[in-house]
């Protein structure tokens, strides 16, 4: 926020809550567009105000499609077909094709310039472990951005993470910030 980037496009499951984190950034007017699955959650007041005033763009994406678009970006896939959203408002204007008698829509990869990921432990190579359901979109976002920054509870020495427990290999992670 302090470095003053403007005209940002944010990809998130929700559109912020209260007046902290994403909502705080939104309030400064730095965000042009939100790509999310469910903008109206409890306390998403900042977003709702901006949306009503027409000051922010919204692209609603089905949750599985959002995740898969990021995975595609991270995996070098040029696009994919899915039946999700076929024949609905969210599928309108998209190229369609039938597979096994079922209409699918073409979805594009979704790549980020920066990914902010919350994890539990990290080592010097950027290997990450997560905590419970907070794993969330973390691993898929980490692979889908040019610069991936992980916020972790604790930084550990190389070798301290059991290789079988590493969820995001360090190759996908560029910076680690220990917040405790």
């Amino acid at each position: 926020m302090l470095q003053g980037a403007k005209e940002l496009t944010i990809v998130s499951n929700n559109a912020g809550e209260g007046e902290f984190g994403l909502a705080k950034l939104m309030k400064t007017g730095a965000i042009r567009k939100v790509i999310c699955t469910y903008p109206r959650s409890a306390g998403s007041v900042v977003f709702e105000d901006l949306y009503e005033q027409g000051k922010i763009e919204l692209e609603v994406v089905p949750q599985g499609t959002l995740s898969e678009r990021m995975r595609a970006a991270g995996a070098g896939i040029g696009g994919f077909y899915t039946p999700t959203s076929a024949g609905t408002l969210l599928g309108e204007g998209k190229e369609t094709r039938e597979f096994d008698g079922r209409v699918h829509v073409l979805e594009q990869p979704l790549k980020g310039d920066v990914a902010l990921v919350k994890a539990r432990l990290a080592d010097r190579w950027g290997n990450l472990t997560y905590n419970k359901s907070a794993r969330n979109f973390g691993p898929v976002m980490a692979m889908a951005a040019d610069l991936t920054i992980a916020q972790v509870d604790q930084f550990v020495e190389l070798g301290e993470l059991d290789p079988e427990m590493i969820i995001t290999p360090g190759l996908f992670v560029d910076r680690v910030v220990e917040v405790g």
Binding site: C36, T37, P39, L90, S133
Partner: protein
């Protein structure tokens, strides 16, 4: 006529139909109540979109963990045998047809099995879809939990949905406070009707033609 089923009673009724060993996703809101009424002799594995299989009940006070929440952001627990995984795997489970059943709420259901449950016609508020479209299309079976009519008495079961669709031809069964209705290729087929409610009365509260199963029974629920 008997009293229409309460929300917990509809949840109870749905729970009786879930087979032992099923992998099940419960939609955010009222469908979450289904988990409270699973018969004791059945082992059901609950899935949550944010990356949980084997989701357990709400933790006791003081045992909540902000990193262990369900898709509705409520604190939950993990049962022995449960697993965590990322969103991509979670939606592969949903979209890849690996869930036996999902239970969703609805604004409207059509006789063709179309489901409308994510957006109304009010364009002033931003719509939100979450995982509803993925679940509606991906689960092997889709059950809908809803009141039979809106608060103002309008039918929610219709020939055609007037709200934007979540998915076309996806609903298998509808559980309401008045009836259990299957969606067949010929339209709505009533399996159970609330005791004392005549077929004509049920039809009058429904916006599509109803057929009644030969063995159509009485809709009853435990006093939950």
């Amino acid at each position: 006529m008997s009293t229409p089923l309460t929300r917990p009673q509809i949840a109870w009724r749905i729970a009786q139909d879930i087979a032992d060993g099923n992998y099940v996703n419960l939609g955010i809101g009222a469908p979450e109540m289904v988990a409270n009424h699973i018969p004791e002799d059945r082992e059901i594995v609950f899935h949550s979109e944010n990356g949980i299989l084997g989701m357990g009940p709400v933790p006791g006070e003081g045992y909540e963990d902000p990193d262990l929440i369900n898709a509705g952001k409520k604190p939950v627990t993990l049962l022995s045998g449960g697993a965590y995984f990322n969103h991509s795997d979670s939606f592969a489970m949903i979209r890849g047809g690996h869930l036996d059943l999902c239970v969703l709420g609805a604004f409207q259901v059509s006789a063709k099995g179309d489901l409308a449950n994510w957006a109304t016609l009010d364009r002033s508020k931003p719509p939100g879809v979450g995982g509803a479209m993925d679940l509606a299309l991906g689960a092997k079976r889709v059950a809908v939990m809803t009141d039979h009519c809106t608060k103002s008495g309008e039918p929610k079961l219709l020939e055609e949905c007037t709200y934007p669709l979540t998915g076309a031809g996806v609903v298998d069964r509808v559980y309401t406070d008045l009836a259990v209705i299957e969606v067949t290729k010929d339209g709505f087929l009533v399996r159970e009707v609330l005791a004392g409610l005549s077929r004509e009365e049920l039809q009058a509260k429904t916006g599509a033609l109803l057929a009644f199963a030969d063995d159509c029974g009485e809709l009853t629920a435990a006093a939950v």
